[in-house]
Amino acid sequence: MAAELGVREAYGAALAELGAEDPGVVVLDADLSSSTQTRLFARAFPNRFFNVGLAEANMMGVAAGLAASGKTPFVSTFAVFATCRCFDQVRTVISQPALNIKIVATHGGITVGEDGASHHAVEDLALACSWPPFTVVVPADAVETAQAVRAAAKARGPFYIRLPRPKLPVVCGEGYRFAIGKAATLRQGRDATVIACGIMVAKALEAAEKLKARGIDCRVLNMSTLKPLDEEAIVLAARETGAIVTAEEHLEHGGLGSRVAQVVAREAPVPMRSVALKNTYAKSGKAEELLERYGLTAAAIQEAVLA
C-alpha cells in the first residue's frame, strides 16, 4: 500500500501558496478552519481571511460580493453544509451569475464516520453537478488535491471541489498532471473498466489487482472531474472493454454513476454496474466499518465487475 497523505493538509498548503502568489485570493470559512485547514492561509494572510462564524448561508453571499468586486474567494466548510444547507444561496448568487468562486468542501461522503448521518455528505455531488456553470472535482489523493486547487485558482468560474476527511493512499504518482475535465487512466485493461472518483480510486486499483489474479484485465479510470465529464474516455472504455463499473462515495443517483450512465446509454450502450450508497443514509461508525457495511469496498467493485 502506498504512503497515505492528508488531503485537507494538501489543500491548506496549496491555498497558502496561492495566497503568496496572488493577492486577489481571499478565503472564507465558517468556524471550521482547523478542520478544513484554511487556518494555514489565515495565519499567513489574516487580512484576506474571513471567518464568518457559524453562518454558511451568509458566507456564500459574502463570497459573492467579494467575487463581484474582483477577488477570487475560496470558500470552505463541510461538504454537507456547502451544498445541502446553502443550495439556494449558491444557486442564486454564485451559480446564476457564474461568479469566480471556488468552494472547497471537506468531509465529503460517509468516511466522516462517527459524526453520523447529519455530517455525511452523500447528496453533495448531485447537487453541485446540477449548478450549470460549475466545474465539479473530486480528487483521488493529496497530490491531485494540490493540483486541482491550483487549476481551479487559474481557471475562471465557479468550482466545487470535494475532499474527504481521512488521509488517502497516493494513487497519482510521480509525474501526474491533473487536467480539468480529463480522466486519468491509472491502469490499462481490456475486459472491463472501473470508473471511480475520490476515495474509491484506490479501491478500484486494489480490485483490479485482485481481478488480475483471476485472469480479468481491468482498466481503471480516475474520473476526478465529474463536470465537465470526460465523455471521450468513457466512450472509449465502453467500446474497448465492453463493461463499466462506477465507484463513488455518494448516493447511487445523481453522482458519478448517473452521469457516466447517461453518456454510455447515449453513445455506447454496454452493461453497467454501480458501486455507491444505495438509497439510504449511513449511521455512525468508524470510516472503514461504514465502507464495509455499506458496500464501498474493493471487494464490492470486484463483485460488480464479475456480475
Binding site: 481571499v26 487580512n47 484576506r48 474571513f50 464568518v52 462564524g53 453562518a55 448561508a57 451568509n58 458566507m59 456564500m60 453571499g61 459574502v62 463570497a63 459573492a64 460580493g65 467579494l66 467575487a67 463581484a68 468586486s69 474582483g70 477577488k71 474567494p73 439556494d88 444561496q89 444557486r91 442564486t92 448568487v93 446564476q96 451569475p97 457564474a98
Partner: protein, 304 residues
C-alpha cells in the same frame, strides 16, 4: 400606453445626456457634490413611479407595490447620493447600490434608465423573452445591476462582501443595500447584520423599506418584526428612523450614514406600499400584481 412618450424631453427634466450625480470626473468630490435639489429629486421620484406603472402594466406582471414604496429612496440614491457613472457601469470606485428586495426590480430599472445606463424605451421590454430586464435583477445582463437577487434575504451578505473588498483595496466607495421589511423575516439578513457589525463596516449602509406589508398581509400579523430598530441596535448597528417619503429626511439620513465611523448604519424608512397612486396605497393586491391598462391609465393621471 404613456410610457414611451414619458421621456426626458418633458419640460423641467434633465436632458438625456445629463451626467448622473457622481460623474467619473467628480469622483473625488464629496457625497452629493453634483447633487440635485430636493425639488428635482421629488420630480425624479414621480417619474420613476410613472415608469414603474407603465412597465409593469405593459409586462402584465411584476411587483408595483414595493417598487412605489421605494421610489423616493431610489431617486435620492441615484440622483444625489451615489457616485456613479452610467457611461462606465463597472468603474471600480463607484458606489454600489444593491437591491436585496429583488422584486422591486421595476424601480431599479427605472432609475438606471433615467440615469442613462440604457434607453428609457427599453423599460417597456420588462419580463419579455429576450429582454435585458429580467423579472428579478440579473447582474450578468443589465448594465448597472450590481447583484442577481430575487431569492430574498441575500443582498446584505453580498453587500458585506463588496464592503470588505472595498476596504481591502483601499477604495473609498460606499455600499447601499435596500431590504424589504418582510424580507427581514429571513434569518440570513441577521447573519449578515451580525457580520457587518463584527467587521465594523462603516462603508456599508442598509435601508429597510418598511412599508409594513408583505405578500400575505400586514407584517405585524404575518411575522412580528418589532421592535425593529432595537433589533438592529442590538446587532451593533447605528440606526436612523425616517419618513421614507420625505425627500429631505431620505437625503439627510443617507448622508449622515456616510459620516458614522466603525459601525454600519441602517436607515429604517417608514413608507407606504403603493405610494403615489391612491388606489394602490396599502392595497395588498398590488404587491405582486400589475395594474391593468385601465388602472395604469388612472395611476398615470394621478402621477402627472
Amino acid at each position: 400606453m404613456p410610457g414611451r412618450d414619458d421621456t426626458r424631453s418633458r419640460p423641467g427634466t434633465p436632458p438625456a445626456d445629463a451626467p448622473a450625480s457622481g460623474s467619473h470626473a467628480g469622483a473625488s468630490a464629496s457625497l452629493g457634490a453634483n447633487a440635485r435639489s430636493i425639488r428635482d429629486l421629488q420630480e425624479i421620484a414621480r417619474r420613476l413611479r410613472r415608469y414603474v406603472i407603465a412597465m409593469t402594466a405593459k409586462a402584465g406582471s411584476g411587483h408595483p407595490g414595493g417598487s412605489l414604496s421605494a421610489a423616493d429612496i431610489v431617486a435620492a440614491l441615484y440622483f444625489r447620493v451615489l457616485r456613479h457613472n452610467p457611461a462606465e457601469p463597472r468603474w471600480p470606485d463607484r458606489d454600489r447600490f444593491i437591491l436585496s428586495k429583488g422584486h422591486a426590480a421595476p424601480v431599479l430599472y427605472a432609475a438606471l434608465a433615467e440615469s442613462g445606463y440604457f434607453p428609457l424605451e427599453e423599460l417597456l421590454t420588462l419580463r419579455q423573452l429576450g429582454s435585458r430586464l429580467q423579472g428579478h435583477p440579473d447582474m450578468t445582463l443589465t448594465p448597472g445591476v450590481e447583484m442577481s437577487s430575487g431569492s430574498l434575504g441575500q443582498g446584505l451578505s453580498f453587500g458585506v462582501g463588496v464592503a470588505l473588498a472595498g476596504r481591502l483595496d483601499r477604495r473609498g466607495y460606499r455600499v447601499y443595500v435596500l431590504l424589504g421589511d418582510g424580507e427581514c423575516d429571513e434569518g440570513q439578513v441577521w447573519e449578515a447584520a451580525m457580520a457587518a457589525a463584527h467587521f465594523k463596516l462603516d462603508n456599508l449602509t442598509a435601508i429597510v423599506d418598511h412599508n409594513g406589508q408583505q405578500l400575505d398581509g400586514n407584517c405585524c400579523d404575518i411575522m412580528g418584526l418589532e421592535p425593529l430598530a432595537d433589533k438592529w441596535r442590538a446587532f451593533g448597528w447605528n440606526v436612523l428612523e425616517i419618513d421614507g417619503h420625505s425627500m429631505e429626511q431620505v437625503v439627510t439620513s443617507l448622508e449622515e450614514a456616510g459620516r458614522v465611523k466603525r459601525k454600519p448604519t441602517v436607515v429604517i424608512a417608514h413608507t407606504v406600499k403603493g405610494k403615489g397612486v391612491s388606489f394602490m396605497e396599502r392595497n395588498l393586491n398590488f404587491h405582486g400584481k400589475a395594474p391593468t391598462a385601465e388602472e395604469a391609465e388612472r395611476a398615470l393621471k394621478e402621477l402627472e
